[in-house]
């Protein structure tokens, strides 16, 4: 990845579209008032092309980035040249809210696809912290979601075999995209190469290719041209030892995330 020259900056819109997916269908959600407050904290939006770095490791930062459209990564480049994807972000994720407290990142943040982000100055977040305690707790919840996810990514790499890892990851992405309305009847867009999936799952391209073929031959799912189609969600979740507890979805979303019939949601 290379440092990006971002595409043109736009003034933040006045309607609450930027924060629409923040905590959507999670165990706790934002009120409309809280969305408006967060929306007004946005200084501007910015677009970046795919595969470019948005925030570089160890550079002092005084803004945080909310992903509005596209997919982003947190990644660490190892000394041997390997890139380790340690997080994938979907719209509604506050990709570096932790920078508000840390003031620099111990990892890069990059655009996996073409993206649009909303940029919130830390000074505005400080105003939120001072005057809106409930919203501040919601933002804290967001960083706790991050921590929960990281814990499970560690366990996935430490204890699951190759097929389980990929199945688990696909189930997680399905659940997260389902929660923000980006999944339809088991189909969703996932603009990741086999190499990207390998970097998430600690597998070589060849190994990912074989695992995806195995999942397809077993009738569980198909991954082709950036599109995932899950044929048997319960079967895939069983293979991946996946339960969505750590995503803290609301109950209907959690049920749908593992293929259990439940209430429909937006």
């Amino acid at each position: 990845m290379r440092v990006a020259e971002p595409w043109p900056t736009m003034a933040a819109p006045k309607v609450a579209m930027l924060t629409h997916n923040v905590l959507r269908n999670r165990a706790v959600e934002l009120s409309e008032d809280e969305r408006s407050i967060l929306e007004s904290a946005v200084a501007f939006t910015r677009a970046y092309p795919a595969r470019q770095i948005v925030v570089r490791q160890d550079v002092p930062v005084d803004v945080s980035t909310l992903l509005v459209e596209g997919l982003m990564t947190r990644h660490v480049d190892a000394k041997d040249g390997r890139r380790h994807l340690v997080a994938i972000h979907v719209p509604g994720d506050f990709v570096d809210l932790h920078a508000y407290a840390l003031k620099r990142l111990d990892h890069d943040v990059g655009a996996l696809t073409n993206i649009t982000v909303a940029v919130i100055p830390h000074a505005a977040l400080q105003e939120v912290q001072l005057h809106h305690q409930h919203l501040t707790r919601r933002l804290w919840f967001l960083t706790m979601l991050d921590a929960a996810s990281h814990r499970h990514w560690v366990v996935r790499l430490a204890s699951l075999n190759a097929v389980q890892r990929v199945a688990h990851f696909l189930c997680e992405m399905h659940a997260r995209l389902l929660a923000i309305g980006r999944c339809n009847a088991g189909r969703f867009e996932l603009a990741m190469t086999q190499s990207d999936i390998g970097e998430v799952c600690g597998l070589s391209n060849v190994h990912v290719n074989r695992v995806l073929r195995q999942l397809r031959e077993e009738g569980l799912c198909g991954v082709r041209s950036g599109q995932v189609r899950i044929h048997d969600l319960q079967g895939l979740a069983t293979v991946g030892v996946f339960t969505p507890d750590y995503l803290y979805l609301n109950r209907p979303a959690a049920l749908r995330a593992v293929g259990t019939p439940g209430d429909h949601h937006g």
């Binding site: 204890s159 699951l160 075999n161 190759a162 060849v206």
Partner: protein, 76 residues
Amino acid sequence: MVDERRYLEPQKDAGRATAENGVVILEGPDGVAVTMTAEAADLTARSLHEAAQKVRDGDSAVPSEDDGNLEDPNRP
């Protein structure tokens, strides 16, 4: 509440190596998932054979000054 900690034990299940698209994939046990060249796989196989033979020969004792933590997993 009892904290029933489970320690990693030596695996009794074997890993399985397969050839795929010009490389060797070693899977398992315990989440092992490694892709190797044929040469690296040969060397790994030889190293595994030699280590296994040492264990069977009783030639794998830990030097006495280093073995304290192996006796009691609850020791720091």
